[in-house]
Amino acid sequence: MFDRKILKGRAKIVLSRSFFMSVVACAIVSIVTGGMLNFGV
């Protein structure tokens, strides 16, 4: 079993460096898929 807080902490560290690119990537996928970004699943 994983610890949610640790995962979120790691995600924040990664995004502190790649946030803008990640926003662009998610926006591209969201637009192309018609908002079908079912997070994680």
């Binding site: 994983f2 690119m21 990640s22 996928v29 970004l37």
Partner: protein, 244 residues
């Protein structure tokens, strides 16, 4: 004569509208299978590479450069399985209509409800709540399957050549003991999602990377590749983490 022509014209219009709707529906399904599903795998690859501090928009196109056919096939089968399991949700409705004559009962109750009959309204709400509760219960296997197959995209993002049975089997294996944690992780973003929705679409665009990256970290953790960023230097964020 003119009346016949008008009727024929309206028939042609109706057929044309149905044809356009049908074509749009087929195009939509085609896009979701051949473009959207691989692109989602591309996003998982992008997030996994970002976790290694290799952030590049080119990673989004990874499925189209590698084994595209296999990725399309595996994601299609995964979604098909979940779709077939979801059909169980119709069972209470079908049994109710077929065995218990629900349609006739509702047709009897509706005029009474319109005449302000409290008992008829209560019977109608009891029937609809019963069907709803049973539908939710019958949907549970589909939810469980959705959770079991939730790692398939991440597995494909790392191994685009992995065959269907192996990818689905590996996802099932990985989710043993982690399903409830996954559900809790999903619900832990509800507050943020509520806040993001108040800021219209922009909020969701800003929140999506956080959610996606957290799930990517979850995949890395349960696949035994959990990252340790303990040496992270906030003053020098562009350090190479690939060997950490």
């Amino acid at each position: 004569m003119q009346g016949t022509n008008l009727a024929a014209r309206s028939d042609i219009r109706i057929i044309a509208i149905y044809a356009v709707i049908g074509i749009m529906f087929l195009v939509g399904i085609g896009i979701s299978i051949f473009v959207a599903a691989p692109l989602k795998v591309g996003l998982k690859h992008f997030m996994l590479r970002s976790a290694d501090m290799d952030t590049n928009l080119d990673n989004l196109m990874y499925p189209f450069r590698t084994n595209y056919k296999n990725i399309v096939w595996v994601t299609f089968v995964k979604n098909l399985y979940i779709g077939l399991w979801s059909l169980l949700g119709f069972v209470p409705m079908v049994i109710g209509l077929w065995k218990f004559g629900l349609a006739e009962k509702i047709a009897e109750l509706l005029p009474l409800v319109q005449n302000d009959s409290v008992s008829a309204a209560m019977s109608l709400s009891a029937i609809s709540s019963g069907v709803l509760i049973l539908t939710i219960i019958f949907m549970i296997p589909a939810f469980i399957k959705e959770l079991q197959y939730s790692m398939v995209e991440y597995i494909l993002a790392e191994n685009p050549n992995m065959p269907r049975a192996k990818a689905i089997g590996k996802s099932k294996e990985m989710m043993v003991g982690n399903k409830w944690g996954y559900v809790k992780l999903t619900f832990s973003f509800l507050g943020w999602q509520f806040l993001a929705n108040t800021a219209c679409c922009i909020g969701n665009f800003l929140l999506a990377p956080y959610i996606e990256q957290t799930f990517a970290q979850m995949y890395l953790e349960i696949s035994g590749q959990g990252k340790d960023y303990s040496g992270y230097d906030y003053q020098n964020p562009f350090v190479d983490f690939r060997n950490m």
